[in-house]
Symmetry: D3
Subunit: 232 residues, 6 copies
């Protein structure tokens, strides 16, 4: 099977890194196709960046569908264009925020999110509220470094991330941590090992959920509001 992993921003380094994370967990016969839009924003750090990224995401989903992929991952923690992508696709489409939330609730009664800039906090809150997980999230913590520092300034961001995860573990009354950025995928394992608590990254979680749905023969429903877009 083939899974299209879409990095909604234009940062190629991040696309590669996300693709690598996805590959690490995919089963042997799953091919990961990591892609990013030609045009858009280099990183997604707010409502505007997200809205702008939608068109690129949707083009890539359409392209993936034409290639006959078996699932699409939207690898940005705001799950941009998720509902729209499901109209375009027939295979399953999964956002990394929802993927991480679902997985976290299966192994802990409460989780905290550790994400990048404070201004993105509201996006996570909106998603938690819409998906129904608000009462399961104890805290959203922000390292307050820009997304691209995950590529350019890895040691410093790792340090900040670690501190925040440790604080979450000790103060929030939680059982698991959700990483709030696709670019953090590569750091999940290291953090988890260091602080000894489950750390969920949405990229890898989404890949496994796509594989799971595929194994069940379940695709995006075409009955109702996820039907293909209306032709005018």
């Amino acid at each position: 099977m083939r899974i299209q992993v879409i990095n909604p921003n234009t940062s190629l380094e991040m696309t590669v890194s996300i693709g690598e994370s996805a590959n690490k967990v995919a089963v042997a016969n799953t091919e990961i196709i990591a892609v990013s839009p030609e045009e858009g924003v280099p990183s997604i750090e707010g409502h505007y960046d997200e809205a702008i990224s939608a068109i690129g995401v949707l083009k890539l989903v359409q392209q993936g569908r034409e290639q006959g992929v078996d699932g699409h991952v939207i690898a940005c923690f705001g799950d941009p264009a998720l509902h729209a992508a499901r109209e375009v696709a027939d295979a399953p489409v999964i956002g990394i925020a929802e993927a991480a939330f679902h997985m976290a609730t299966l192994i802990a009664t409460k989780f905290s999110i550790v994400t990048t800039l404070s201004r993105t906090k509201i996006i996570a809150e909106h998603l938690l509220h819409q998906y129904g997980f608000a009462h399961k999230c104890a805290q959203i913590r922000c390292i307050d470094l820009p997304v691209l520092d995950l590529e350019n300034n890895e040691q410093a961001t790792y340090q900040k991330l670690l501190e925040n995860c440790l604080a979450a573990k000790q103060q929030d009354g939680i059982g698991a941590i959700v990483l709030g950025c696709g670019g953090m995928a590569k750091l999940a394992e290291r953090v988890a090992a260091e602080i000894d608590i489950p750390v969920i990254d949405g990229v890898t979680a989404a890949v496994k959920l796509i594989e799971a749905l595929h194994g069940l023969g379940i695709k995006t429903s075409k009955w109702g509001d996820y039907n293909y877009p209306e032709q005018k």
Copy 2:
């Protein structure tokens, strides 16, 4: 003062009709600038159409800001790109769904929505949930005719609309009706007169809310997540 009224779809007839509705309620010294994007979708009837429309909306908001307008109305009932537009703008930005919901709750304890296609119902539900008005909406009723019929097939859509509004009045235990499409603005007064219950249209409601905020000297907050988009 000048208010930019953005029709997020490319249907010029609808832009004109929305502009006229806006003009009817604007005070004497308010200039209405009705605009629509050059590229996009001719009507918005689902998640995809909405996501696609975002980029056009944001360009127009940016343009309006450069022109120094005093407020922006997003005249599609899904409030597409609302949060993103507030990052771009400094003047207030109001979506017609939220405008109608706010106004309805000021004059009735419960309202019903009458909108176009059934597939758009979930969009209204998501907004009600996010804004906090879910417990005030008794019912969402759909006339199940496409948006563009509001231009091309006015008599039939009016009839369907009327029937649904009447049913809402008689069966839903409500005090007001919210019209769920910018293209219905022109019909609000006629329906209200015919069935004798307050009928709220979001286009006109949004214009008056912009005027109200302007009169208070209150603009979109630039403290927090509505600050201008991050420069990379």
Copy 3:
């Protein structure tokens, strides 16, 4: 048009100050009629004061209706007798708490309230819950000075108010502040200027919302539970 601004307590100084605030934002041809009950409580600082004030508010609304006013503002942050007043009135009736909440949510994703005594906090919470804005209010902060100090001890209350607003700005993750007392209306502008964040006062917000509804030709719904009181 004429708007009746009701101060539900008997403090005439506050009635005058509220009337002045209302006048500042009303459009040229709007006449503000600031009134207060002959009997009642000198300030409203709890459930009891509020319940006692209801009868005076309702008499004034009735009187305003006989005078043919175009809207009524209930200028106490507990919105006392709001639903009852809407039964008596046919013009719109708006409480200053709801007015401030509505306006705040149009320009920020989260707000904090700064109010007077701690014991009134629960009243604001009940309103937030009933109106649907609970998830948009980050914090309710109390200056813990009595309402009448706003008239008698203005410099000290201003100082306390300022400190609390600043703390809200810096610690609450918000985009706007709502002032939790009609008597604070006169201080809104000064605070906003000093701490540079939108500060919403309900008195002025309510006046503009009444003007907005009036401009839309929308009155309190007489269909359903806001119909005139049952005759026995």
Copy 4:
């Protein structure tokens, strides 16, 4: 011990009937003092009637406190002036709506309410929402006869009540019925016997809850917002 049962309307017949219902369930050494205000409304059928009744209720609570009663029941299904009464009282104060809701949830997972006029439905909804029982109430059914018909037209109201209770039993997926009016107290037992499902009346429920709190030595908390009203 002595329990003051306050009928918030001025209908003496109803005061007597409520007092009799209270007496039936009170233990041997409990004295029921059934009272009603001298001035007010003959029946409570909306927001206005309720607001008007508050002042009479509060005077009676104050009077009861001076007499040293051990608890106060507010015997109108809207629980008018409940929070205010708790500021005035030191003994416990219980509204009949809350009493009925609490009792119903102890013996069934879901209940329906059968009440009088449709326009009072919203009052019950607001209470359910505020108290936290909204998800336990399956349905609010209205017999659509005025409150005073319970005194003047008993056979017809009983018939309507019975029909609605039966429909609730058969269609709502519930385990108990809550009667939504103090005037229905006298009919509870008869309905319960006839349709064989627990029928909860708030008057009797409130009396027993007062006795229960009294037996625990627990009074209205004077720490926090139920403290005595502020002296100005």
Copy 5:
């Protein structure tokens, strides 16, 4: 009348102490039958302990029903097997967590819980959420001593309890405290006297609620999901 008070753990000392607390508040003609299962866990401090205790609780309820008791109290703060017990019983069954929550909300607008181990916090949260009281609970505080210390190490646990109750009173903005363990019943009065705020213990609260329901002639509903278990 006879009330069966079930201590779901096997600690006989606790059964005796709970029985004594129950007896203190029961009316003269109420006989308290304090029982505990022969097999099970010596204390209940988590999901597992609770699940394990269910079978013992249900056997005792069955036994109580055969003895014709008039009500059953499940005296563990997790309300283990509550819904199941109601299927088995025909008399009322009340858990001490729900009993305490109900009573607290009748005399204060907000309460805090003081309980034993941090790991049991989630159980209280699940109950608050299910019963509908989540918005009335300001804080859950844990003394972080095991349940059996309440028997074996009474002075130290009392001290910890007192400190936490005092902190709750001063910091949580509440009007009452709920004790989160059956073993704390005997300490309620002493704490209340020392810190002067209502302190609710669920054991005594449940006894009085059973008496109240009994006085109303209301039993567990056998219409719907609390009907006797299906025979296979």
Copy 6:
């Protein structure tokens, strides 16, 4: 890897059938170990049956852990003893209700449940509420045939199931159907094929979720309330 699939009732036929369903979707190298308790109830159709089944489930989980299985599925739609099982296990534990809900929300915005007896409806509601999916479930429909008819009376139950699924598809405004009983697993594919809408069965969904978690190297969190039961 090895997954233990626990049928919480004692019906061996159902254990076999559930095991077969699980096997169908498991990947090649996953071994399914289908087990059921020696003692317990032959089918689970209410709160009591569920509580009784807990002890058997927990013994089996403990046994599975000693065998070193990589995950546990609790194959009854009430997810009995789920939280308790997670304390006992270190591998992931998944209930079939939660599994189905999670999967359904990944491919549709709304779903309906079709389950067995009406009296089990409340169990599904409690789970939806606790997990956070209540607003995503449009309807719970009951075929009102006992669980064991799924083994003994397959044609009739299939017919009833089909009718209810079809009604859900046509009337509920949904995109997917969740089957509300482990015994229905074997019918999922056939129903889905016949009515052409995604039909989610929790047994198969849970197996795939276990595989997914295993692939991520994520186990039940031992930090916090899912830690091993307290030793006394």
